[in-house]
Structure formats: structure tokens, C-alpha cells
């Protein structure tokens, strides 16, 4: 059920992202999707990868600080109003979204959104009650 996101601390300087990508390339890790949140000095690279544990180990071996976080991945119909409806149902239930990002390509004609909630367990239960289907790691990997 759980999808684990890998997050890496990086300084906002030339060459730092490149170094991380090089390590992942050398370890033959495929990046399914990624996003960077940044400040002027540093950023956090968040990504879903083909093998989270192996990627984390490769990065830690090169002394990068990283963490693994549970995120919820939801497939939504790709038409106007659907995302709004989803987010509205989260806010009604008092579910706070820490951050969200997307997959570039669709799965089974659905737009794939990744959500990080303050309380993932509560969020998962709420989503199920609202009739949203969360994708498993295996489903994401399948492409």
C-alpha cells in the first residue's frame, strides 16, 4: 500500500544536483518523478525511484543526508474541476497537505498526483471513505 518517497538535502549551488543524479545513475536507479523545493541557500529534492532503499544507501554512502517519507499517490481523471473537488474534500475533513506534485505521464488515462499529508494514516482512511483509490508502489512501477 505504502509509497515511499526519498528526500535528499542539497545545497543550492551548481553541481550539487548533478552529483546526486550521477550517484543514482551509477547505481542504475530509475527516477519515476521528482520535484525540488528550494530556499535561497538549500533545497530538498523529493523523488519516487525504482528502488528506494538501494537509492538511499547509495546516497548515504556518498555522505548525503536523506530520509524516507510515506506519501499517498492518487489517480484522478484529467478534466477540469476534479483536482478542486479532491482538495475540497481534504480541506473539509481538516486534512492538511504539506506538499504535492505530479507524475509527468498518465497511468490508465488518469493523472497521477502525489500528496504528502500531515497525518498519512488519517488521510488514507479519509480518501478511502471518499472513494479515491490510492496507487501502490507496484502499480506505479509498472507504468
Amino acid at each position: 500500500m505504502e509509497v515511499t518517497q526519498l528526500s535528499v538535502f542539497l545545497e543550492n549551488k551548481p553541481g550539487h544536483l548533478e552529483h546526486i543524479l550521477e550517484i543514482l545513475a551509477d547505481a542504475k536507479i530509475n527516477i519515476l518523478t521528482l520535484t525540488i523545493a528550494e530556499t535561497s541557500d538549500f533545497g530538498v529534492l523529493r523523488m519516487l525511484v525504482s528502488d528506494t532503499n538501494r537509492a538511499a544507501k547509495a546516497l548515504r554512502d556518498h555522505r548525503f543526508t536523506c530520509s524516507q517519507t510515506e506519501v499517498l499517490v492518487i489517480g484522478l481523471e484529467d478534466r477540469p474541476g476534479v483536482l478542486h473537488q479532491a482538495v475540497r474534500s481534504f480541506s473539509r475533513r481538516g486534512l492538511n497537505i504539506e506538499y504535492m506534485y505530479t507524475f509527468t505521464e498518465k497511468r490508465d488515462d488518469l493523472a497521477i498526483m502525489i500528496f504528502r499529508f500531515e497525518d498519512p494514516a488519517q488521510a488514507r482512511a479519509a480518501l478511502a471513505a471518499e472513494g479515491y483509490r490510492t496507487l501502490t508502489y507496484e502499480e506505479i512501477l509498472k507504468g
Binding site: L10, E11, A37, F42, V44, R63, T65, E98
Partner: protein, 434 residues
């Protein structure tokens, strides 16, 4: 106790011994070293004027600068035929100072290190891995001779090559590790970050002997937790003899100074006036038994405090607090006196537990700026920016409340701040260059 006769000596008897040795040492310096003769004469002091230890206040100080100018042999009080070894200071804050040792000086040096080790609970059954640098630096050879004197087993691995350090700890069943506290953390880092075949499960490591740089109580807690050792401070200066001038005992509440070999005073770092016992100030050392290079009133620049309450360990030797600053490491930032150790204490309190930090001082438009680089480790890392930003803010606020200075806090990736098996460079002062 390695030598109870001197370590637990009746205080009155020791004072008499100190006075007698002090007279000898002053006379030895005056008679054999032109530098001392000139400086004593200029101050109108003659060794026969010394009636009680307090008379020493009339004797001029010996500074690091004096020692540099005396390089290489001008402070030697014996012929080189009697000198069996030399050591140099690390020269981190300028050119090196050199000290010589006669056979008897080496004997004293070994003795004070052996006393220190025994006071931590090291016995002849222990295996001591000496990860201080061997060479001109007093750490490696100093510990080595002390370990042999005590009768323990010395593993002379020297500093560096962390993977090999870990392998030997495991393979040889090392029970005592001696190195700088920052290198101890470096070793702990390697353990934590590398998923290799080395771990310390089942290791025999039980005691850490750490010195050569000031370190905080928080750093002690951190090292003890991560390496599974009881960590003890060993203190010394190459100018005075090397490690072993003072050492903690099992009560870990101050370092006992080997007073039968070294006479200590605390002075005001600004005025040089002797302060009453218990006041914080700069420690000044006078050697009582050294033959090759007698040291008379040497300004150590180390800031500490002396106290004489009875110690549960039974030693009657005066205790000095862990050195909490260097009068020459003291940074004056916008008129505020700041020691790196104070910043370190804040960081360790904040759970940025590993003290991998660096202070960068600069001056813009005639105004001092201070930036503190803090490495982000797994413990404080979060995938949420707001958590990281609030960490930076908290460090800033805490430093502001403790030190009344506003510092820019920059979070950096692990291992961006250079590590060395020697002394960590905590402060980069760009103000002098500009």
C-alpha cells in the same frame, strides 16, 4: 592511582615540595638560559628572592612569541648532548615552538601520562589504540610512552585512515581509544554512514582518552553515546611538556593538575594580574622539574578555573575546569567576546548533535558579520522546508539569546566542513585579510 605518594600527598607537604622545586627551577633557568637571566634582571628579580610561591608574581611572563623568537635552541638550559628528544607545537596559530627533553624529562612525561591513564581506569590489561599523530606533535609519542610506562599494550596506529582504525578496534579488541575528540566523532561518523562489514557490536572499547583541543560536555555525551566509551579529557601543551599536565578522574569534574611537576596560576588575560582561586582566567604554567627547557610563567591562553574542594577519587591535586576557551581563540564580534565553545554548546543542545560546524567572520561596511555553517545530519533533516527553516531560526535565536549576537545560519550538506585527524578549524576569520 599510579603514584599515590604524589597524587594523594598531604597538601601542606606538597606546598613545601613545590616551593623547594620552584626554587630549583628558577635558579636552573636563571643560571643556564640567557633569556631568563635578562628578563629576571630587567624585572629586578633574583631566584633567591623567592620566599613563598606567591613571590612568583614578580617574575615576568613567558609568551608564545618569546618561544618563537627563541627558536630553535635558545631556551635550552642543558647542552644538546643531554637532550634525547624534541617536540614541536602544532603551529596552528603561527610558526612552531620547539621543546627539548632530557632522559629525565621523558621519564616525567611518561609518568604524568601513565598517571592520567590510570585515573581513567586504564590498567595493564588494556589495549590502547593511539590515534594521535606520531611525530613532532606530542600526542602520539607522549601517549605511547605513558601507555608503556603503565604496562598496557600500545597500538601505535597514529592518526588518519579511519577504516583501518575501525578494523583494528575490532580485530585487536582495542579497549581504549586515544585521539582528538573531533577525530573520535569522525570515527563515529564512519560507523554510522557506511554499511560495510565494520560495526562496533561486540567491541571491547570502554575508555576514550581525548585531548589536544577544547571540547564541551555535550560533545562528551555525544561521543560516549556513539562510541560506547567513557570519555575522559587529557590536557597538556607541548610548551609545558605535552599531554598529561592535567587529567580527569572517574568523577569527571575537573582535571587534576600534576602539581608536583607543574605550578599553576590563573591570571586576568587582559592585565596579567593573578586572580584568586575559583575565578575564571588564563592558566599560567611554571615547570618544577623540567631540565631541558624550564618553563617559567608560560601564558597558555587557555581559559579555565581552579578549585580545591576534596575530590572523591582521593587525589589532593588541584582541579582545573575543562578548558572553556582560548584567549587567542576568543572572537570579538561587534565588541562581544565569543568563544567557539559557546556556539558549539548551543548547537549540541539543539540536537544538531554532531558539532560539525564552522564559524566564518567577515566585515562588510565596517560591520562584523558572523556566519555559522551547520551540517544537516539525518537526525535533524526533514523533507519539509519549513522544518529546516525553523531549525535555522531556532539556532539563530538561541545564539542571539546566549551571546547577544545575530548570526547568519547556513545549513550545509554533511562532510562539507573539512575534517582532520588533527585540530578542527572552527573559525575562519576573513576580517584580517580584508
Amino acid at each position: 592511582m599510579f603514584n599515590p605518594r604524589f597524587e594523594a600527598m598531604d597538601p601542606q607537604e606538597r606546598r613545601a615540595l613545590q616551593l623547594e622545586r620552584l626554587r630549583w627551577s628558577l635558579r636552573h633557568a636563571y643560571d643556564n638560559v640567557p633569556f631568563y637571566r635578562e628578563s629576571f634582571d630587567k624585572a629586578g628579580f633574583h631566584p633567591r628572592h623567592l620566599r613563598e610561591p606567591a613571590d612568583l608574581q614578580k617574575v615576568p611572563f613567558l609568551t608564545k612569541q618569546d618561544m618563537r623568537q627563541a627558536y630553535p635552541y635558545q631556551l635550552f638550559a642543558v647542552g644538546l648532548d643531554q637532550v634525547v628528544r624534541i617536540h614541536c607545537s602544532s603551529g596552528t596559530t603561527g610558526s612552531a615552538t620547539l621543546a627539548g627533553y632530557t632522559r629525565r624529562d621523558i621519564e616525567v612525561f611518561s609518568e604524568v601520562v601513565a598517571r592520567s591513564l590510570a585515573s581513567y581506569g586504564v590498567t595493564e590489561s588494556d589495549i590502547v589504540q593511539i590515534a594521535y599523530g606520531y611525530g613532532l606533535f606530542t600526542g602520539g609519542l607522549g601517549l605511547h610512552y605513558g601507555v608503556e610506562k603503565l604496562g598496557a599494550l600500545a597500538v601505535p596506529i597514529s592518526g588518519g585512515n579511519t577504516d583501518r582504525q575501525l578494523r583494528l578496534i575490532r580485530d585487536l579488541k582495542t579497549s581504549v581509544l586515544a585521539c582528538t575528540p573531533s577525530y573520535a566523532l569522525n570515527i563515529a561518523d564512519r560507523l554510522g554512514n557506511r554499511t560495510q562489514d565494520i560495526d562496533l557490536n561486540g567491541s571491547q572499547l570502554r575508555i576514550g582518552v581525548f585531548g589536544a583541543e577544547p571540547w564541551s560536555e555535550q560533545m562528551r555525551t555525544e561521543i560516549e553515546k556513539r562510541l560506547g566509551v567513557s570519555a575522559y579529557d587529557i590536557y597538556g601543551l607541548s610548551e609545558v611538556i605535552g599531554p598529561g599536565v592535567a587529567a580527569e578522574c572517574s568523577s569527571k569534574s575537573g582535571l587534576h593538575v600534576q602539581e608536583d611537576h607543574f605550578y599553576v596560576e590563573i591570571v586576568d588575560p587582559e592585565t596579567g594580574a593573578v586572580l584568586p582561586e575559583g575565578e575564571p582566567g588564563e592558566i599560567v604554567y611554571t615547570s618544577l622539574t623540567k631540565e631541558a627547557c624550564p618553563i617559567i610563567r608560560y601564558r597558555s591562553h587557555d581559559i579555565s578555573r581552579l578549585h580545591r574542594e576534596p575530590c572523591p577519587c582521593g587525589r589532593t591535586l588541584v582541579r582545573m575546569d575543562k578548558v572553556f576557551g582560548r584567549s587567542d581563540d576568543m572572537m570579538i564580534i561587534r565588541g562581544v567576546n565569543v568563544y567557539p565553545s559557546q556556539i558549539e554548546a548551543v548547537l549540541m543542545d539543539m540536537e544538531c548533535t554532531e558539532p560539525h560546524y564552522q564559524i566564518i567572520l567577515d566585515r562588510r561596511d565596517a560591520l562584523d558579520s558572523i556566519e555559522i555553517l551547520v551540517e544537516v545530519n539525518d537526525k535533524v533533516f526533514s523533507d519539509e522546508l519549513k522544518v529546516l527553516q525553523s531549525l535555522g531560526r531556532k539556532i539563530h535565536d538561541r545564539i542571539k539569546s546566549v551571546l547577544s549576537i545575530s548570526a547568519k545560519i547556513t545549513l550545509v550538506e554533511p562532510q562539507t566542513i573539512a575534517r582532520s585527524p588533527g585540530k578542527a578549524q572552527r573559525v575562519i576569520d576573513k576580517r584580517k585579510i580584508n
